[in-house]
Symmetry: C2
């Protein structure tokens, strides 16, 4: 059986090598690839994906897993080997359920849909995208049908991004949160608005870059196993555990883009760089789930990067980089970067309003899957919900229902991970603060070793070994819970807005 | 049969995709990869190589080629399809002759040898490298034995880089050339030396880069399908026909490194960018051979880039970039960049001495393969030949027999392609000048469209369709011939040195 396990690891290592190469193709595509290479790159990525899929669904793989499944039961259930086999079986079963012809058909539909979405958003013309989205919904329902009946059909989609998570769980979490967030935003809206105009002025691009590098170096980003480049849409990627790359975007007239974008991606990268080296070239890399991943990016971006202790340390340094801030007191800077204001665009939303953008999307996705909501009614539904949750009405569909690229990529079940990530970040934070009582003082001194050490020990090193709810439970003693997040928002914004 | 051909092309396209991805891994390794990723990168490249090899030697491939071989005979022998099948058979036969275990053993020996060579060169200690080179020689002889007996065992090695070329042919070419080059160098050495001290002074790095970009843009390098980055050792690479990248090196105190290095790599890149798009994702990309490839890089570097007409156009521009050259007359600049001086290091050699470095290496490689020369006698043999050909004696082995990395990579049969490339470049040049009588005037006007057009039509578009001797014969009417090169050297240096 040891020999079979060794063979399984050999195959997984090669799949991991191919996926690592594919990841470099993707990174290069967003950073340095010349424009004329786009079609060729698509073919190359497609071929690598096909080969990795073939290796992961081969008859040999099936036979190995059939034999190793019972063996895994005999191992310590928390051991790397038991988890590796378990996840290999999970991945194999999911990959073999969906017929190759379906994937080909789906990719064809998505290529056209993505192009139509780009055009539709440019012209703010939902009707141009509608027929494509209808096809995508039909394909999504067929996709769900390849899987055994779940409590809710949406569970199948959610499971792609949050292994083991149920629609009912997410709904319950969001239902508990929504009225409190809506109420908080209403209360804030009745208070005098803070001023963030100083963030919108020219900031030297090179200095912005350098400041970002200084901050994430202090966070503990390992430049020996990573690098930072520019890209239109910041992301964390790269070919594997020993090469985790981030990208950032620098807006010459707005500081936040670089500042919080860089910290956000660094949070993702610290997670990926922190996996146990024993997991290299296995299927256990990549983090527990998208939500847990997002909890790490959000923690460094928001709980660290938008906190007062952080800026007590870094604000004087920022003022050295940007003399135009010298006259601005720390407190006003801190308020400005934490301004709350309902807005149309999710990716620009602040901490208090962000989750409501997500809840709206989740409701729409569930209604679409259930067939309750016809695609043609989407814009009206969207706008009504925006009014209900955020009290604003998008002036057009480009700033409304057409703003995200995800649906044109067929990504259903994805959005809620963003909000769940926010919740997990604060849930972990409460635990961290009880384990490291002087955390604020450390941050105030620009020290992050203890924080990173805690994350390494409790989250990062495990890679993908645990399911997200399982991991949160192991670390905090309870499953994903929205109350720490609400406590955090209330405390923070009561102070800033004098509620 | 059409269906079988389509299937063959499908497999070749996927192999090409994988090799393209592997090529990006290699490019990234030399440009942007963080140092901590080296081992991981080796695994990823190894896996892609293994998969491409498996696909190229699969039973399906063997069966397809068995059936398509006779079919190819029924096609126009110059058609893409006939050549594609022919080269697929050639590649298949070569790849299947060498057992997988041998390749594994060889890679293991080479990894250690390469490390030992690095250390040996640093300490100028040939004995440290000797046992590794002995093992490599033994493996190389075993490698040769996997192939059917050839006229000379070295033919098998040569054939890896110069398809179809025979040892006897190369020897005959070099034998005709050697005494004439030795005599020319002797004659030059009796003349007053030209001054090139102005090349050795500080040159702003950014301006150097910009000037190089300006030149190769004018040559016709397609930035839409390529890019330039920095690397320690300049090279041309990239993921495929639509993405041909070059790298360059900038020495802040010596102009030639960037200047001629950039033009050299651009010459390679123009060849690769110029292939017929119909050859994309086939086995017919990459150029006829290393020598033909080198003929293109050398043509742009030397026949264009070290010519007087070129500098009649570009020297005023260079003087704008570098005011320190304003007082230096064109003629003295031209002489300086064409200074002839025997030197120890091949990669720094001038046009008149370069080939002698190669001939020395070819003689050694043949003697090693024949078993006439024991590895332990290499340094003495090397130094004696240097004295004989170039009249100088390396002060140590680091500047002698240990200077090249190639042997530690097991690359035997490679070096002569550099000299053959020089010869082909001038042989083509004579033909080009008869086809484009006002070529010098065009270059003097900074115009390269006709030259590039000629190369595209006669060389580039064919990719790898023709064997090197076949291609040279088709284009010039004769096989590789050293006399144009000698005519060129005599004319050029008679003028510069007043012989």
């Amino acid at each position: 059986m040891e020999k079979k396990l060794a063979r399984l690891k050999e195959i997984l290592a090669e799949i991991s090598d191919i996926e690592g190469a594919a990841s470099l193709l993707g990174w290069d595509q967003q950073t340095y690839m010349p424009p004329g290479a786009a079609e060729q790159r698509g073919q190359q990525s497609g071929t690598l994906g096909k080969i990795a899929h073939q290796m992961g669904t081969s008859p040999e793989m099936g036979k190995l897993l059939e034999e190793l499944g019972p063996y895994a039961e005999s191992l310590d259930p928390d051991s790397d080997d038991a988890r590796l086999i378990k996840f290999a079986i999970r991945d194999y079963e999911r990959a073999t359920r969906v017929p190759a012809e379906f994937i080909v058909e789906r990719n064809r539909v998505l290529a056209l849909a993505n192009q139509a979405w780009t055009e539709a958003r440019q012209t703010s013309n939902f009707e141009h995208f509608r027929p494509h989205l209808e096809k995508i919904m039909e394909l999504t329902r067929r996709y769900v049908d390849f899987f055994p009946p779940a409590d809710h059909p949406y569970d199948v989609l959610l499971d792609n991004f949050e292994p083991g998570m149920k629609t009912a769980e997410v709904k319950a979490i969001f239902d508990a949160l929504r009225p409190q967030q809506v109420e908080l935003i209403r209360a804030i809206s009745e208070r005098p608005q803070v001023d963030d105009s100083f963030l919108h002025q020219p900031f030297d691009e090179k200095k912005q870059w350098d400041f970002g590098v200084e901050v994430i170096t202090r966070f503990g980003y390992d430049w020996n196993r990573g690098r930072q480049d520019k890209s239109a849409h910041p992301f964390t990627g790269g070919p594997g555990l020993f090469d985790v790359r981030i990208t950032t975007r620098v807006d010459p007239n707005f500081l936040n883009t670089m500042l919080f974008g860089t910290m956000h991606e660094c949070g993702h990268a610290l997670y990926d760089q922190g996996a146990d080296p024993a997991l290299a070239r296995t299927n256990l890399l990549g983090g527990a789930s998208l939500a847990v991943h997002e909890s790490q990016s959000r923690m460094w971006e928001n709980l660290v990067g938008r906190s007062l202790p952080f800026w007590e340390h870094f604000y004087p340094r920022l003022q050295e980089y940007f003399p135009q801030l010298r006259e601005l007191p720390l407190q006003r800077f801190y308020q400005g970067i934490n301004k709350v204001q309902p807005s149309y665009i999710r990716v620009e939303a602040d901490e208090a309003t962000y989750n409501l953008h997500i809840m709206l999307r989740l409701e729409i996705e569930i209604a679409l899957i259930e067939g309750r909501l016809p695609v043609r009614d989407l814009p009206a539904y969207w706008n009504a919900k925006m009014q209900e949750y955020l009290g604003i009405m998008p002036p057009d569909d480009a700033r409304g229902v057409l703003q995200d690229i995800h649906w044109s990529w067929g990504l259903f079940g994805y959005f809620s991970t963003y909000a769940l990530g926010n919740l997990i970040s604060v849930q972990l934070w409460e635990k961290i603060k009880s384990d490291i009582p002087d955390l604020d003082d450390q941050i105030r001194a620009g020290k992050f070793e203890a924080l990173l050490g805690w994350l390494r020990e409790n989250i990062h090193r495990h890679g993908r070994k645990f399911m997200p709810q399982e991991l949160v439970q192991r670390v905090t003693g309870s499953k994903i819970d929205p109350s720490p997040y609400m406590r955090y928002l209330r405390r923070k914004y009561s102070e800033i807005y004098g509620l």
